[in-house]
């Protein structure tokens, strides 16, 4: 195991930021920690990275094998890009290299990889948010670590930047490295992760393979002149999972296996229903959460 966490908890005064969090991360996986803001993602990562003291529980990196500080074999960014504002990008990376105990030969290559080579002698304080974020990813990659820990790595990036970072994560994962990714974006976790743990209010409400947990998350929104008939017909569909009415009076259908809008439309038409509204949309993280909580109960 790369990382095992047992029963981790963190108390801030009377507030339980984390309670009884346990999971393990296998070598080579891309492990997503998914949860809304304030669910305890950063607290969990802060504890295992040694900057937040836990109130209980244990964790171990690399099964406690290997000598020296395990963090030297981990590249990590936590929350915000943390650099000396008055130093250039290059000098900031030199400091990171000093601490990691690696030489400076990699710095130029890494800066090129995150498109910051032209700006390497500029002060960190002159950087845009996206550039700061890319510099912190460069810093995490610097020592060619076994494990990469990324906390909301695409925060503040434009769509092109987001796509680049995701490609970068996938290409690093292909080299057999382990990646731990915290995100509040369901879409992001789904696109890059192999495994996921879903955190809500400091508790793990679900964890496992991404395909098992997030599976099918399409919602089809429907309405027709005869809503009652539509509802009974929808409920009779062999692959139906749930039918519910939303605020605007439309039906929301979830299927246990993917279904296209055309297939559904054909099915309904055969049953004698002409729909006046048909919309296929991805479930929001919120709905997904609500569903997971419902499953809990």
């Amino acid at each position: 195991m790369i990382l095992s966490i047992q029963n981790l908890s963190k108390q801030y005064g009377t507030l339980a930021a984390l309670s009884g969090v346990s999971f393990s991360i296998e070598k080579g996986s891309v492990f997503g920690i998914l949860g809304p803001n304030g669910s305890g993602k950063t607290t969990t990562l802060g504890i295992v990275l040694g900057v937040i003291n836990s109130s209980g529980g244990t964790y171990s990196w690399f099964d406690n094998k290997g000598t020296g500080n395990p963090r030297k074999n981990i590249g990590a960014i936590l929350e915000t890009p943390n650099f000396y504002h008055y130093l250039s990008a290059y000098k900031n990376l030199q400091i990171a290299a000093d601490i990691k105990g690696v030489d400076y030969s990699n710095i130029d290559k890494i800066l090129e990889r995150v498109n910051l080579k032209d700006r390497k002698d500029y002060r960190f304080s002159t950087f845009s948010l996206g550039m700061k974020q890319r510099l912190s990813i460069a810093s995490a990659l610097l020592a060619n670590p076994e494990v990469l820990v990324l906390d909301e790595p695409t925060n503040g990036l434009d769509p092109q930047g987001i796509a680049e970072i995701r490609e970068l994560i996938l290409s690093i994962s292909k080299q057999g490295k382990t990646i731990i990714l915290a995100s509040h974006l369901l879409d992001e976790v789904e696109k890059v992760c192999t495994h996921v743990a879903v955190l809500l209010k400091g508790k793990i409400i679900s964890s496992g393979k991404v395909s098992d947990i997030l599976g099918n998350n399409d919602i089809i929104e429907l309405s027709a002149d005869n809503m009652e008939k539509l509802e009974s017909v929808a409920k009779a569909h062999p692959a139906i999972k749930s039918v519910s009415k939303n605020n605007s009076g439309k039906l929301e259908l979830v299927f246990s296996s993917p279904i296209s809008a055309a297939e559904l439309n054909e099915y309904l038409f055969k049953q004698g229903i002409s729909v006046s509204h048909l919309l296929l949309r991805k479930k929001t993280l919120e709905t997904q959460f609500l569903e997971l909580i419902r499953k809990e109960k």
């Binding site: 990275l49 900057v51 936590l78 943390n82 000098k91 400091i95 601490i99 810093s139």
Partner: protein
């Protein structure tokens, strides 16, 4: 150890504020020390004979006493340097990158020792050069007779910096750290000493640190304490420095960074 110091120096050598303080300290010590002999008090009876203060061996006492005032500048600089680590959250990043809390603190203490060594070396060179020009008799014993003041200056300046490190770590923000550093050393402790008997107030941190090098004017007038600066206050200054470093260690380990 050299690696830690190297990294620490890399953090500050391109920092303009660092150089502002270094230049300010150097110029002020130089200017104050060199301009005092030029002051002519009016009236022949008031003429103050400064000659012995500025020749070997008493020059060491005079110079380290004057330079001691400007430890304040170095203290404020250390508050800024340590609070920067909290403001930029680089203390967190340094630890994530692989330093232990111990290494982080050791690097800072090494830097402070380095700063004290540099300021002491500067004071030593200034005294040596000035003394060689001003003194009539230049013998090895005359020059180094009272050079223990230079060692006392090193300990005094380091003790100031240790207190600054603690205040900076405690308050985390430069403004707060500087205000409380000054407030405690210049107002709180002097006020505390009023109701307290001398045998207690003399050993409060700042009293003991400043009494390490007594006012040379009082001493030459026969009002000062023993001549050697390596007495009880020397030991107390080292003791307080260790306490401040240990308290900083506790803050860094018990608190979430």
């Amino acid at each position: 150890m050299m690696r830690l110091l190297n990294t620490e120096l890399r953090k500050i050598l391109s920092y303009p504020t660092f150089w502002v303080f270094v230049i300010l300290y150097t110029l002020l010590v130089l200017a104050i020390f060199c301009s005092i002999p030029a002051i002519r008090l009016p009236g022949p009876g008031m003429m103050f004979n400064l000659k012995s203060y500025y020749t070997f061996p008493d020059i060491w006492h005079t110079l380290t006493y004057l330079a001691g005032w400007f430890n304040l500048l170095l203290g404020v600089l250390v508050v800024i340097l340590i609070t920067n680590e909290f403001t930029f959250r680089t203390v967190r990043q340094n630890i994530i990158d692989g330093w232990t809390v111990n290494e982080f603190l050791s690097a800072k203490v090494l830097l402070m020792v380095f700063m004290s060594v540099c300021s002491t070396a500067f004071v030593f060179l200034l005294g040596l050069v000035y003394g060689l020009f001003a003194s009539a008799s230049i013998s090895f014993t005359a020059i180094f007779n009272e050079s223990s003041f230079v060692l006392a200056y090193f300990v005094q300046s380091l003790a100031y910096l240790c207190f600054a490190l603690f205040m900076g770590t405690l308050f985390k923000k430069a403004g707060m750290g500087i205000i409380f550093f000054l407030l405690y050393s210049k107002i709180v402790e002097p006020l505390m000493s009023w109701p307290l008997p001398d045998y207690i107030s003399d050993y409060l941190p700042f009293h003991t640190i400043s009494k390490l090098i007594s006012n040379p004017a009082l001493q030459l007038a026969g009002m000062g304490e023993g001549n050697s600066p390596l007495g009880i206050h020397f030991i107390f200054a080292i003791l307080y420095s260790s306490i401040f470093i240990f308290a900083t260690y506790l803050l860094l380990t018990k608190r979430d960074n």
